[in-house]
Amino acid sequence: MLQLVVGQLLNGVIVGTLYAIIALGVTLTFGITGIVNFALGVFMMLGAYVTWYLTDGIGIAYPLAVPLAVACIALIGLAVDQSLFRFTRNNLINGLIVSIGLISVIVAIVLMIWTTTPQNMHYVLPGVLRLGGVVVPKMKAVVFVVLLLVILFTYGALTRTWAGRAAYAYAQNAEAAALMGIRTGVLQAGVAAYSAALAGLGGALYASLYSITPEIGSSYILKGVEAAILAGIGSVMGSFAGGIIIGVAEGVGSIFLPSAYNDAYGLVFLVLILLLRPAGLFAPR
Amino acid sequence: MLLEVRHLTKRFGGLTAVSDLSFGLDAGEIIGVFGPNGSGKTTLLNLISGVYTPTAGELVWKDEALVGRKPHEIAAAGIVKTFQNPQLFGELSVFENVAIAGHLRLKRQAGWRRVATLFPVRANADDDLASRIDHVLRLCRLDAFRDVPAASLSYGGEKMLGVALALMCEPVLLLLDEPGSGLGHDELRNLDEVLRDLRAHGTTLCVIDHRVGFLGKLADRAIVIHHGAKIAEGRPDDVLRDRAVIEAYLGRGDA
């Protein structure tokens, strides 16, 4: 029993980082452009498809395919931001609707190209690690490490680099930041692209773990938004923790409770947190 | 005594915005609360109108405690405040703005019976609303702008609309947060007349402003606060000659 729980704690953390990477994108775009971009989910889905296509389709090595896919998604994110979201800045509702519209557009295009037949990438790194009685697939461990590094890097960049501080400043007080000579348009476009890149990376790594269908975006964006809000939208490490909380809640939850309710655990958490600490779990009181 | 402020104190973290402030308001008078910027005037109004809850002290309104009541309850009790930089429903017309402010009036008139007005069988209870609104607009010299979107008013116009909204609530005590600031000379005279009209109609006014001149002419009684504490109280002319007040404004040594 114990090793079952430990195993699921571990697995929950790993699965959680996949939620976290989306949550991070959600948090960043919200902080800088004032909208919640639900299309980040389909960006992730695109990332998975592109990676799968580059490796199994064209035959590029996976380690090479991942950065390519990420770059590709970042470009798409940038293009979409400039052509659509530029007009919905700081209008939560409109941004929400546009991103929903964008979801069905992208899903439609993916269906036209790759149909709904689930796609399965060849195994990049099969086999498992055995830590005592606990089993962790090797690839999952790799995915976890990569995502962890990226999240830490993002955190560092935001706190230590000029661009990062500019972003923070902007999130705190737009006018003041603009007066400080921060070029709003560039900043917003940059963040939009970066968030898309994060989602793309999430997808690229996802492809090495699970089968790919056009629907995967929706479930991951919901978990991502949950995680971001859970932690208090705007906090980088918070969204990381939020993702992990949901991941663990699902993993450990489905040991003791009927697994059919799997999706509920995160939600229950979310509601409680929002009611007890409306600003989010990690927001300063 | 209409409103009694007893040992009112408000701290934000380390900062004490209002400290141990006590004074009273009598029905029908115009009280001027003034002091330099950041002396805690606006905080005081927010405390009275229930936007903030005081750290210590009490507020007694017609022998009832106000502290702990919600802003809308306090407004319903007859204490209405205007905002320093005017708040309004930008995309609605001036008329519609004031119509919304007619809520309390309807509530007092119809009470729960106003629910019945939702059903076709009952005529609207607020049929005299329009005439009332026009009256208020005339009072505030806004009748010319009746149907323009509130957002398109001049700054002075917006402040006047702020007053009009408050008037529509038929307040017993009207709290005005720097009504004069940013107004041109004509608008100022206009405001002055409006406020005098109001007093004539028996409304009690508590006006805060850093413009001594404007207040001096209007107020029956002046209270000067500095760093949140009362440093002088009395007839405006006397108060303005008070040494502490001059120091507060001009800084030590100049007098």
Binding site: M1, G12, T117, P118, V135, S211, S259, A260, N262 | -
Partner: protein, 391 residues
């Protein structure tokens, strides 16, 4: 701007397609309809079915149509997309029956669609045939007022049910305990009801686990199942979930699988990690392609028609045998000597065994019985096939 062009394009597409309909109405045609979800999470069955049907219709028309009562007819396939939404399906069916006067409708595979249209369809009992694969149809067959209804899939349970045969096969293997991991949806529950019973009768312990459709990481529930040490895992039921379940199960040491829907794809992809993978495969195309000329011809035709490789891992879905159904229907019309007397055509359908890619016949309730394969994949990918011909 690219948005604007996209709209114009789609508008043009629509005009074109409308024009195409107009022309199709010109000569003597028999309209056959199809009510299936071709997009949405559960579209795989519907999508594959309509692929098979399009091929058959195209072949028959290219061959100059077919003769009934000295008259030559062509087929006109009307297959809108229900998107798994009962509201749309209902409108589409009304359109078929009342405007296009369709008398032969294939589908649906999805229970919620069938439920959504059942009430309306009943009102037109005797005026058309609804030939669908949805499991819920089984329970409606043969009831008064349901003459319009036929079911186009082998039924799991019952003496000639393939499920019964497969459970028996497991019992012979000496299996003591099976753990089910099912989608928490309509078919999932039907399957649970059927096999709970079947395993009880076979004296095999049966344990139920459920997951939300759309789940990707099963390791939690799989770990839980693994702790119970079942002999076989009974996962359900579409490839969209099977690949993930099989991979993650093998990682956790669950290496024996037994399934009644879904393909061999997951087994072959994980052939080095599984020990045993027993699947009900209406036709194991990889083998049949070599042994049966008809199948080889079909696979070649598919490649030519869709300009892409044959989806072997989707073969069971092809094998909803929609391709055969079209030919069988035409055959039945010939035998009945009429294209619009549905009662006669139904009688004809139930009156013979069609020998196409499958040997297909209908029992007297209007439920299909066709030959199928039980495929057993062993570690390393060694495959053994048992051909079953239910009586």
């Amino acid at each position: 701007m690219k948005l604007a062009t996209a709209i114009i394009e789609s508008a043009m597409v629509s005009i074109v397609s409308v024009a195409w309909f107009a022309t199709a109405h010109a000569q003597d045609v028999v309209k056959i309809g199809e009510i299936e979800a071709q997009t949405g999470p559960l579209n795989t069955y519907g999508w594959m079915s309509s692929q098979g049907m399009r091929m058959a219709v195209d072949e028959i028309n290219k061959a100059g149509g077919f003769q009934v009562g000295g008259k030559t007819y062509k087929l006109d396939l009307i297959n809108p997309d229900t998107q798994g939404n009962p509201q749309q399906a209902l409108i589409q069916l009304k359109k078929m029956l009342e405007e296009d006067k369709v008398k032969y409708v294939f589908g649906p595979f999805l229970t919620n669609i069938f439920k959504g249209i059942e009430g309306y369809a009943k009102q037109h009992n005797g005026q058309f045939l609804l030939m669908g694969g949805a499991t819920q149809i089984h329970y409606e067959l043969g009831k008064p007022g349901n003459d319009y209804l036929m079911r186009t899939w082998n039924w799991d349970a019952g003496p000639s049910g393939f499920g019964t045969l497969m459970v028996e096969d497991l019992r012979k293997k000496g299996v003591k305990k099976v753990a089910m991991l099912m989608q928490n949806d309509a078919f999932g529950h039907v399957a649970a009801d059927i096999y709970r019973e079947a395993f009880k009768n076979a004296g095999i312990a049966f344990e139920e686990n459920w997951f939300e459709p759309g789940t990707k990481d099963y390791s939690a529930v799989l770990a839980k199942i693994g702790a119970g040490k079942p002999d076989y895992l009974f996962p359900g039921y579409t490839d969209a979930v099977l690949y993930d379940i099989v991979q993650q199960a093998t990682q956790l040491g669950l290496t024996k699988f037994w399934l009644v829907r879904g393909s061999l794809g997951p087994a072959l992809k994980n052939k080095d990690y599984i020990d045993d993978y027993i699947a009900y495969i209406p036709k194991y195309f990889e083998e049949a392609e070599k042994s049966e000329p008809k199948v080889a011809k079909f696979v070649a035709a598919y490649k030519a028609f869709y300009k892409k490789d044959f989806p072997y891992d989707q073969a069971p879905l092809c094998s909803s045998s929609c391709y055969d159904h079209v030919y069988m229907l035409v055959d039945a019309m010939k035998r009945a000597g009429t294209v619009d007397d549905v009662a006669k055509v139904k009688a004809a359908l139930e009156g013979f065994t069609y020998d196409g890619l499958w040997k297909i016949r209908y029992d007297n309730t209007g439920e299909e019985i066709f030959n199928f394969d039980i495929v057993d994949v062993q570690k390393g990918g060694k495959i053994s096939v048992t051909h079953e011909q239910p009586r």
